[in-house]
């Protein structure tokens, strides 16, 4: 009996220790970066910039990031949602669905640097889009596709079947059932998919710097190149020119991620409430 308690307590200790490491690391990263960076995050830092200078603010990089988020979402969201609708509402189990699922899973597993390589030869070189917002966004659209598909699929599956039966039983067509009953019920889940994708786009570096470039410039159209916040962060860290700016940029990135996670959680809890 004593021996059992001993080994139990021993394992418990490991479990708690591991949890402390996990939670502690997160708190450590957050507090260390933010406490060193927040003082340097000023209005000027967010809104100013000098052409070609790394010392200025991060305004152009915020704009580049927004550009790429906007175009990527515009491309990936409809395709991802349609794809999920097909998989949940139309597809009959069989070979083609298995291949689609395998392709989606594989896409999710491909390292971002490989997406970058692909974007570089396909969009930048072959299609002639050069290093541009467009090339970056197209590459990222493929990259976030699995996130959109899987999250939307989950939310469609969570819509109770009795809604489908009710609508079809009234003689409504399948498409109308999807449009008027299923999609509205799945909306919070779909929004979660979009929010999660935005999070991935903001955090992405390897795939973007090979396709959207690293120009320290303000993009004026989707055919212009530019660096996103994360790419800028990479150069700040790598070149070590200005630690203050590096901390400040990292702080901005972390704060954005916190906001995004907060919104995603709020949406998820709304979805749970709605379907319970």
């Amino acid at each position: 009996m004593k021996k059992r308690n001993l080994s139990d307590n021993f394992m418990k200790l490991f479990i708690i220790l591991s949890s402390i490491i996990t939670l502690g690391t997160m708190i450590w990263i957050l507090i260390y970066v933010i406490s060193n960076g927040i003082a340097h995050v000023s209005w000027e830092f967010l809104t100013e910039f000098q052409e070609g200078q790394i010392e200025g603010g991060i305004f152009p990089y915020i704009i580049s990031t927004l550009y790429i988020i906007f175009i990527t979402i515009l491309i990936a969201t409809p395709i991802g949602i349609f794809s999920a609708i097909y998989l949940v509402e139309y597809a009959k189990p069989g070979k083609i669905v298995r291949i689609i699922r395998f392709a989606t899973e594989s896409l999710a597993g491909i390292p971002s640097i490989v997406f970058g390589l692909f974007g570089l030869i396909f969009f930048v070189t072959m299609l002639g889009f050069r290093w541009s917002m467009l090339s970056g966004a197209l590459t990222l659209s493929i990259m976030v596709l699995p996130t959109v598909v899987r999250t939307t699929e989950e939310s469609l599956k969570a819509v109770p079947n009795i809604y489908r039966e009710g609508s079809l039983g009234l003689g409504a067509s399948k498409l109308r059932t999807i449009r008027k009953v299923i999609l509205p019920s799945a909306l919070p889940g779909i929004l979660t998919a979009v929010i999660l994708s935005i999070g991935r786009i903001i955090g992405e570096t390897a795939a973007v710097f090979l396709t959207a470039g690293t120009a320290k410039a303000l993009p004026k159209s989707i055919m212009d190149g530019g660096r996103t916040l994360s790419v800028h962060m990479y150069y700040l860290a790598k070149e070590g020119i200005s630690m203050d700016k590096a901390y400040a940029t990292a702080t901005v990135l972390i704060l954005v991620v916190i906001v995004i996670n907060f919104i995603a959680n709020k949406l998820a809890s709304r979805l749970n409430k709605k379907n319970s």
């Binding site: 059992r4 597993g109 990135l253």
Partner: protein, 316 residues
């Protein structure tokens, strides 16, 4: 009681407007959905074709075995990567990728699984409410921020720990392993939680009813029952670690020498591609980076196939 007598008002309007064109429209939209669903297949096929078309010939020109495992000896010196002299060997990059991934798995997997056990089975509700968002936040932090954190905290710590003796100044395999262990935690934790939660409650009740303690039940009954899910978590963790680029570049030191200890500077395949791509000249040098991409890609696809195999087995 009134009868729904709509005959005068709506019989005409209720009469089906479903004509042939509506049916065609429904069919057309279904086709659009189907084509969208096929985008994943089209994308993965296009990516595969282009990476192989660009890197494949270079790989054949260098020689697949020579490229992946060979070295060049000139005047008693071993050369690995000298684009100027058309020497392209990625054996050290492959080894570095494997070493840091293994290291990250050895540290990250136990911590991740035990944290998952804590969240799924032990932690009180209020703590779960803190832990879960914390894990999600950990998953959301951009990899460059991890790299930056590693660069300013972990690397100097390693430098100090080795008595300031390291040439790389603490940029090392160990630094990469530590950062990657943290980065794979959310993947391991989330999937393990799902796997543990999916274990039928009867197993747990059965074990507890026989007088086993909660901890014994967890380790003797629940984790074994959840093992394929946990295994899937490990494979996804390996995928994340082997594919990570930016965080690793910032802390690994990026030397192409054969790594002999964990304090050595290393350059995994991902870092190699990202670093050289920015200045590679078109031709064999650039193409050899795509060839490195192929090796990485094949690694990942093998993992995907393994994963697909495992999840299918679970489904049965």
């Amino acid at each position: 009681m009134e009868r729904v007598d709509n005959s005068n008002i709506s019989q005409a309007s209720l009469n089906m407007k479903k004509s042939k064109s509506t049916v065609l429209w429904e069919k057309f939209v279904e086709k659009i959905f189907f084509i969208s669903a096929c985008m994943a297949i089209i994308s993965i096929a296009t990516i595969t074709i282009f990476i192989f078309a660009k890197g494949g010939p270079a790989m054949l020109e260098i020689g697949i075995f020579n490229f992946m495992f060979g070295t060049t000896e000139l005047g008693g010196k071993v050369y690995l990567w000298q684009p100027g002299a058309d020497i392209y060997h990625i054996i050290t990059m492959i080894l570095s990728s494997i070493y840091i991934t293994l290291g990250a798995i050895i540290i990250g997997v136990p911590i991740g699984i035990l944290t998952a056990v804590f969240i799924a089975e032990i932690a009180p509700k209020w703590l779960v409410k803190i832990m879960k968002p914390a894990v999600e936040l950990l998953a959301g932090i951009p990899s460059v921020v991890y790299g930056f954190f590693g660069l300013i905290i972990i690397v100097p710590m390693i430098y100090e720990a080795y008595g300031r003796q390291l040439k790389g100044g603490g940029n090392s395999m160990l630094a990469a392993i530590i950062i990657l262990s943290i980065m794979i935690l959310p993947t391991i934790i989330n999937i393990s939680i799902a796997a543990i939660k999916a274990v039928p409650i009867e197993y747990k009740e059965g074990s507890l009813a026989m007088g086993a303690t909660h901890i014994q039940t967890i380790f003797k009954v629940m984790i074994p029952a959840a093992k394929s899910g946990i295994f899937a978590a490990v494979i996804l963790g390996i995928g994340r670690a082997i594919g990570e680029t930016m965080a690793v570049i910032l802390v690994a030191g990026n030397s192409i020498k054969f790594p002999t200890s964990i304090s050595d500077s290393v350059r995994p395949m991902t870092a190699h591609i990202a670093l050289e791509m920015s200045y590679a000249s078109p031709g064999l040098h650039e193409n050899s980076l795509f060839a490195t991409g192929i090796v990485l890609f094949v690694f990942i696809m093998l993992l995907n196939i393994a994963l697909n195999f495992i999840t299918h087995k679970v489904g049965e």
